[in-house]
């Protein structure tokens, strides 16, 4: 049965060939590099702990694309989605491969929320943190037809009728519900929180009027905002976003007031960071830190940041460890108050 066999093997080699071909051609360029620096010797597995097409996946695929376009690594990156258990599957994979220098992972704030709410035996200290690539903003959105002019008005309405306003969010006891809990704690109100699978689904539900509000990231609602379907009330950050280009007819991301300006004392930024397994050498970790720093200089990255209205922030080394420690402490505090912590 000559046809069948050629058919199945061809499909594998064609696909793999497509992915590896670029790498092989770039490998030749690097063989003469100095021996002091460590370089990967086989394809790098890039573990994504979010769903396909979501924010983490987009960022991972952009990094993969930039790395292969500018030939930044002698070996290609292979993006593998391991989003089972809210990303827990990917965490356990990285924790379970100490010393593996050919594996990196993109993690979000789910590195705290998932273990804290489910007792998953994982902590970010079980990995080697490499770099924070960006921070993700959260915005309070309502349907454009809603009568509220600002966050204050909306939260007063929510407060006057506890447990009637529907807040949609991705997952249960994850980032979206943590932000909702902060909002409730800051204003003394109570939402009916409805968990969905992901941000895309929630956007549609808000546009269709099936929920009253959500706390989606800017990129998840930008299309609907421009089309006049939803309106932003406030951003959960210390200061306004720096982007001045008009997104809609008369507003830019920078025109959205902070929640604090509306008298709501709530701030939240989500991590988008790269990790690798524990017990790797300094040379090995440095290779990736340098690689990621190079990715950040490329125009594709800059465009990605401004399109998604991410907070441009790059942290490595001691800064990063300090940041993770503080961020984790905050999560324990907020989630403890909201009763989201799993019982030991």
């Amino acid at each position: 049965m000559p046809f069948k066999s050629s058919c199945s093997s061809k499909s594998v080699s064609l696909l793999k060939g497509a992915a590896f071909g670029l790498a092989l051609s770039s490998a030749a360029l690097f063989t003469s590099a100095s021996h002091a620096d460590w370089k990967p010797t086989k394809p790098i597995t890039f573990v994504v702990t979010g769903g396909p097409g979501g924010g983490a996946d987009q960022m991972a695929r952009l990094i993969q694309g930039v790395v292969s376009k500018y030939k930044l690594s002698p070996q290609p990156m292979i993006v593998v989605i391991q989003n089972g258990g809210g990303g827990g599957q990917g965490f356990m994979d990285v924790k379970g491969s100490p010393g593996d220098a050919h594996k990196i992972m993109i993690g979000l704030s789910n590195i705290y929320t998932v273990p804290l709410s489910t007792n998953l035996p994982f902590n970010w200290r079980d990995t080697t943190p490499l770099a924070v690539m960006a921070l993700d903003e959260f915005v309070l959105w309502v349907n454009a037809k809603a009568p509220y002019k600002n966050a204050q008005e909306y939260m007063q309405a929510v407060k006057s009728k506890p447990d009637t306003f529907k807040m949609g969010g991705a997952g249960s006891k994850r980032e979206d519900e943590v932000v909702t809990a902060m909002l409730e704690q800051a204003t003394g109100s109570k939402f009916t929180f409805i968990p969905y699978k992901g941000g895309g689904e929630i956007s549609t539900q808000l546009v269709g009027g099936h929920i009253d509000s959500d706390v989606n990231n800017p990129i998840e609602h930008v299309a609907h905002w421009r089309a006049g379907e939803v309106k932003p009330l406030c951003v959960f950050d210390k200061q306004r976003m720096p982007f001045k280009t008009k997104v809609t007819g008369d507003m830019s991301w920078g025109d959205i007031p902070t929640c604090r300006e509306s008298g709501i004392n709530a701030e939240y930024l989500m991590l988008r960071a790269i990790f690798m397994p524990k017990d790797v050498s300094k040379d090995e970790a440095d290779f990736y830190v340098k690689l990621l720093a190079k990715v950040r200089e490329k125009p594709e990255w800059k465009e990605f940041i401004s399109k998604g209205a991410y907070k441009d922030d790059f942290m490595t080394g001691a800064d990063l460890t300090k940041f993770l420690e503080e961020d984790e402490k905050r999560h324990v505090e907020i989630m403890g108050k909201a009763n989201f912590l799993a019982k030991k």
């Binding site: 049965m1 396909p52 599957q89 968990p195 969905y196 269709g208 299309a223």
Partner: protein, 503 residues
Amino acid sequence: MDQVVSLLQGFGVVLSVYHLWLMLLGIMLGILVGVLPGLGGPNGVAILLPLTFTMPPTSAIIMLSCIYWGALFGGAITSILFNIPGEPSSVATTFDGYPLAQQGRAGEALTAAFSGSFVGALLGVLLITFMAPLVARFALKFGPPEFFAVYLLTFCSFIGMGREAPLKSIVAMMLGFGMAAMGMDTMSGQIRMTYGLPQLMQGIDFLIAVIGLFGIGEILLTMEEGLAFKGKAANISPKVVFQTWARLPRYWLTLIRSSIIGCWMGITPGGATAASFMGYGIAKKFSRNGDKFGTGQVEGVLAPEVAAHASGTSALLPMLALGIPGSATAAVLLGGLMIWGLEPGPLLFIEHKEFVWGLIASMYLGNVAGLIIVLSTVPLFAAILRVPFSIIAPMIIILCAIGAYTVHNSMFDVGLMLLFGVVGYFFKKLDYPLAPLVLSLVLGDKAEDAFRQTMLASKGDVTIFASNWLVGSITLLALVLLFWPLLVGIWNKLRTSRQVPAT
């Protein structure tokens, strides 16, 4: 006719040598991706996505969407020949496609599947061309109650269709629900039924179960029955294509019915897999040959394929017009659009006209090219069944293993797939149906989420399922289908009792 003018401009964009070449390449890759069980459209598109970052967006989407068409076409091939669904949406194709192949009519089954796919896709594209803005708004009406009603409708249209004892169907369906519940529970945020195995945290992937249950299970059975394929005497003359075509028009009602189901499920977005099951279930209930379904009916191949392809195509509509992906592949394409710097949503049609209409034009051309390519391979594929079983069986097992591995690049899944093979073997030996298990495995957790979201929003009030005309009529339709055999029985009884006094 704005649309016609725009469409012609779209054809102008697509009809360049470079784009036609990309289209052919995409379709060939797609067919290969579809043939390999496990790889599937979403994975295939995701793997090739980074390669397109350097292309202009229009060229990139043409190639990627052609991979998608190719995968939809290719999924039917292994379903029919070996009872191994290459794509989740082609599970229902095995029900009649595989019996046809065993009778030596693989060529007919393949031709029917490909032609059906083409008809479904064509209607989906026509819908996108002429009704995009109108239909897209409709998708917004779907909240949790409506989604649950649609899933209920899928289950109800499928209930009571097997020959097996109803109790066995229920056992199989409940097993499926149990497996669908494994992994992360969206509603409570807890991880359930993983038995301490991190690999089970994402639940049991539908493809792994299907490859094992159908593919390996079938090989085990065949081995027991004498190491030979029943479809050896397959007709491999190219004439079979035209002979099958001549008979297709008589199934016009099934074609229309499945197209409507497919377009509906693509837009809402219920997905191609649900659409194919519903297409098959409804055709079985309402077709004149309904009771012969499952024994090798060409109509039983057409019904799910038309629905799957119509749904796969129309799933792109809500993605382009609203930014809601109607399928897993559409979700990956959506990620691509954003990386290329295009924002899907209502303004895409205005700001990036060339892109949108180029894509739509490529849907027409891609499907025509796809149909020609796959039809020309019918004799080749049908000839595979003439190869001795002892040569082909090990290859199928390798194919299944590669398929299971590629889903998440994990050896654990290969073991799981083999385990499912044994389960599949016993299911067949003990006369338990596989279809209800597969259906509840696919839709189980979605239905659960939708139901619990609804109950959260309504604070436990079940009457929400009759709270507006949309959800009310879908729920009613589901209940009518559920009790259909009973209603028919009562009707017949009434009629005979009225006739009795007359005679």
